[in-house]
Amino acid sequence: MSASLKFDGLKELMATLKVSGKIAADGVRSTVRQSAYAFAEQAKSDTKIGKTGNLRRGIKVREDVGASNVVSFDVRNTAPHAHLYEYGFMHKNGNRHIPGNFVFSKAGGARQRMNDRIEQILPEILQAAVDKS
């Protein structure tokens, strides 16, 4: 004769929590991607077209697939003179300083909007995963 007392309710929840990092990363990927592309478009429209158009064409978005459970998109300008447009340069003939345009240095607003959106959706994503478990 025996009596077994067992509580197994947490098993599936624990399994869900174990993969919560991946659930969160997968859930916010589209938001981060959209934010990156929106910022790139803004950066393009803030970048004047010069003689060649290389400066505007150089703005690219690339997903940085490094660590697991991390979603990262890089927006960068691959044009070799992008830093001069960003931070300013010396005019060759006049020998005076031409101000920077700070296209990328103004990314703070886009980052803040993305973080606000993620703060909004992340609890729902995790709640849905817990409910499913």
């Binding site: 931070y87 300013g88 010396m90 020998n95 005076r96 300083h97 700070f102 103004k106």
Partner: protein, 140 residues
Amino acid sequence: MSSAAIDAAIFTALTNDATLTTLAPGGVFRGTSPQGALQPFVIVEVVDHLDEPQMSTSTPAFESVRYMIKAVDGATSMVAASSAADRIYAILNGATLSVSGYDAMLCVREERVAYTEVDDASDHRFQHNGGMYRVMVDPQ
């Protein structure tokens, strides 16, 4: 109260420093320099300016301004521009600025900016060295 007072406080802090005047005798300029200015010189530019709103009044809770402040020198070596940038850092990083109409909250360097500009045609070089500084002030 005018946000220009924040810019003025930065300029005052930089121009009143005798060591920086020696290291960057060209002077301190906003955005652009006069043609043919003596080098090295210092450039101050507003990158962005945010007002933090508050519910009870139209006066912002605080203002947060990001400046790029750098020394520029037409030289093959970064040494002079770097020395001036170090002095700018010593003056501003952690400083309590005196801003008319505001209480100072914060003045720190957020990131370093350093690059060499090369004129491909003449191989002439310009050294740019400084940083992005965050200044936060509380309107009185």
